[in-house]
């Protein structure tokens, strides 16, 4: 199948009755990229995927592959591969027959089917399981079977709808690597949907963070992680320490904010004026213990400590009584007083719109 050089979603909108699940969703996906739609339940990511697949009709907008419209083509003719959250394996067919299903529909010659099915199963390490039935396979094996069934048809686009959410943590990590390996090997343009940000980070070339049918931020994983564009994205990506504050100084280098007893400087270009109400946040793992007179330092009293193996996470209190979460490589003890600092480029500041973003 002809590979995709460019996949465009042009102001795709999908309404269900009164609700708009997807609002003027626009996206350019370069060929062979791995794109993830990331967001909480109800953000529209699955809707977007289903619209791409052709399983849902668009209320307005267009979808184009290599410049040609595909949104007026029915799902069965688009030749996009899809893996469903609960795999949707045909329970009445063997592993072999499941994978061969699409090929048989296209009346491929039996010897070619045999070869292709064999290759696909080998790729997902299910060779030898041809005569088993899906219910005889483990969760991880079922997921791999679903994969094999989708890729055996050499689709131009691969759509994955939260394929790992039904697995336990250990399997999820293993199969995540499998997916990465397959993508590296096959280089099929892939659109992946998940609510798990670690999956999004590890697998994607580009991450699209979504909320309520709209794109909040789009960019490479590093950018989303280190420079969330809005409070919502910051919150979603784990910037758990959030404080209401006010801007005290502002210039071309950054801003200085004051809130919750903290006096912090944030580097960057902001469109904020002194006196403006903001929300400042930072990651627990960006905090470090300081003894020198560094800026962006504050005192905190440790209350509860959790041992996470590689690090310790603690809930501590600031002088004002606000809580702060700290993640440090060293052990902490309840009652311990620490002096902690945050690097200037790791403080995020957003205009306070009254909590509407979250």
């Amino acid at each position: 199948m002809q590979a995709i050089e460019k996949l465009e979603l042009d102001r795709v909108t999908r309404r269900f009755g009164q609700t708009t699940a997807l609002h003027e969703f626009s996206l350019n996906v370069p060929g062979r990229a791995f794109v993830t739609l990331l967001g909480p339940s109800g953000c529209g990511k699955s809707t977007a995927l289903n619209c791409l697949a052709g399983l849902l009709e668009l209320s307005s907008g267009e979808i184009r592959v290599n410049g040609q419209r595909v949104d007026n083509v029915s799902a069965e003719k688009r030749n996009f591969g899809m893996v469903f959250q609960n795999y949707a394996l045909f329970p009445h067919l063997t592993v072999y027959k499941n994978v061969a299903f699409g090929l048989e529909l296209r009346r491929t010659r039996r010897d070619i089917i045999n070869r292709k099915v064999g290759e696909a199963l080998k790729l997902v390490q299910l060779n030898g399981f041809e005569t088993r039935y899906p219910w005889q396979l483990s969760g991880g094996q079922q997921q791999r079977l679903a994969f094999a069934r989708a890729i055996v048809l050499e689709p131009s686009l691969l759509l994955l709808d939260e394929p790992l959410s039904n697995l336990d943590a250990k399997l999820r990590n293993e199969l995540r690597l499998e997916i990465k390996r397959l993508h590296e090997g096959l280089k099929i343009t892939t659109v992946y949907v998940t609510h798990d940000q670690s999956e999004a980070m590890s697998l994607s070339d580009i991450v699209i963070v979504m909320q309520r049918g709209r794109i909040e931020q789009a960019g490479p994983p590093q950018e989303i992680y280190r420079h969330p564009a809005s409070l919502f994205v910051a919150d979603f990506m784990g910037y758990k320490n959030r404080y209401q504050a006010e801007v005290t100084q502002s210039d071309s280098q950054g801003v200085r904010i004051s809130g919750a007893g903290l006096d912090l400087v944030a580097e960057g270009q902001f469109d904020l004026k002194p006196g403006q109400k903001v929300v400042a946040c930072f990651r627990p793992d960006d905090a470090f213990v300081t003894h020198n007179g560094e800026s962006n330092a504050f005192d905190a009293r440790v209350e509860l400590v959790e041992y996470l193996g590689k690090e310790y996470e603690a809930e501590a209190t600031l002088q004002t009584g606000d809580k702060v979460l700290l993640q440090l490589p060293r052990q902490m003890h309840g009652g311990e007083n620490l002096r902690v600092a945050i690097p200037r480029d790791r403080v995020m500041v957003y205009a306070d719109s009254g909590g509407k973003e979250l």
């Binding site: 668009l58 307005s60 960019g219 490479p220 564009a229 809005s230 902001f270 469109d271 500041v349 205009a351």
Partner: protein, 298 residues
């Protein structure tokens, strides 16, 4: 948003050239052709059935109906004559008495069994299920005829007891079949929790199972009553002149000896239908129709 995005990726987020965008018509009333046919077929079926029932009702109120659209004259004389030929009061009370008696006994016998089948694993469970399912797999005549002869032998035929016992045979399995899934639906942990809090078996039954089973018991009860009233073969085999149920009386009027006007039989049929319908309507006040219907189709 007040944080500026760092250098743009290869991914412009929005605005492509404004090519003409086709707007998919959003059909609020999605009717696929296949399902439209389906609705039509169902409508045709239901209409005919309703008209069929209407015919009986109209005919029973007519004084003679000869191939015209509606009868020329209406009267209630055939109801009167039906009333004269049958002791309607006795007939209806007998029918209802048997129906409710059967259901009550079936619940007493069947509920414990349903509980065991729903909750416990034991050797021979499959056999037990088989035993309760077999009456549904073989014709009522097969056990009905010997059962009837046994009733006659013990001089129980032609009596309330005989008719009740005979109807119990298919109803006990029916009740068990309906109640078992209802019991399975009740979380086993509720009973365990009650035990941990000190409740005895009997207390668990009264305070936990019965209230939660309420809808299930009502559903099973109503379906069983309707089924018993409509049950023909078994009652027919053991009934006598004063131990008929309504449905047997109608059959006898239609097919039995004697020359009665068809309208009178229709009148009897209407009385029978009215009885069943009134019960159903009363039942619908207590139980939601879906529960009811979902169970009936099993």
């Amino acid at each position: 948003m007040s944080v500026q995005q760092q250098d743009k990726t290869t991914l412009p987020e929005a605005s492509l050239s404004r090519a003409a965008t086709r707007t998919a018509p959003f059909r609020a009333w999605k009717f696929k052709p296949g399902s439209l046919l389906g609705y039509l077929a169902i409508a045709f079926f239901v209409t005919n059935v309703l008209l069929l029932i209407a015919t009986v009702v109209i005919s029973s109120f007519s004084q003679g109906w000869f191939g015209t659209f509606l009868p020329d004259k209406f009267s209630t004389r055939y109801y009167e004559s039906a009333g004269k030929e049958h002791d309607l009061f006795q007939l209806i009370t007998f029918t209802l008495g048997v129906a409710f008696g059967v259901v009550l006994l079936a619940m007493l016998i069947g509920l414990p069994a349903a509980y065991v089948l729903a909750r416990k694993q034991f050797k021979g469970k499959a056999l037990m299920w088989g035993l309760f399912l077999v009456p549904m797999m073989i014709p009522p005549m097969t056990y009905g005829i010997p059962l009837a002869t046994t009733m006659y032998r013990f001089d129980l035929a032609n009596s309330v007891i005989g008719v009740t016992l005979v109807n119990l045979v298919p109803i006990v399995p029916f009740v068990i079949l309906i109640l078992t899934p209802f019991i399975e639906q009740i979380d086993v942990n509720l009973e365990s929790a009650a035990r941990m809090l000190g409740a005895s078996r009997l207390q668990i039954f009264w305070r936990i199972l019965t209230p939660l089973l309420g809808p299930g018991l009502l559903t099973a009860g109503i379906l069983a009553v309707v089924r018993t009233i409509a049950s023909f073969e078994l009652t027919y085999l053991v009934s006598g002149s004063r131990t008929q149920t309504l449905i047997v009386a109608v059959y006898n009027d239609a097919y039995g000896a004697g020359n009665r006007p068809g309208q009178q039989t229709d009148a009897m049929a209407v009385i029978y239908t009215a009885t069943t319908l009134s019960l159903l309507i009363i039942a619908l006040i207590f139980v939601s129709p879906t529960q009811f219907v979902v169970r009936l189709k099993r």
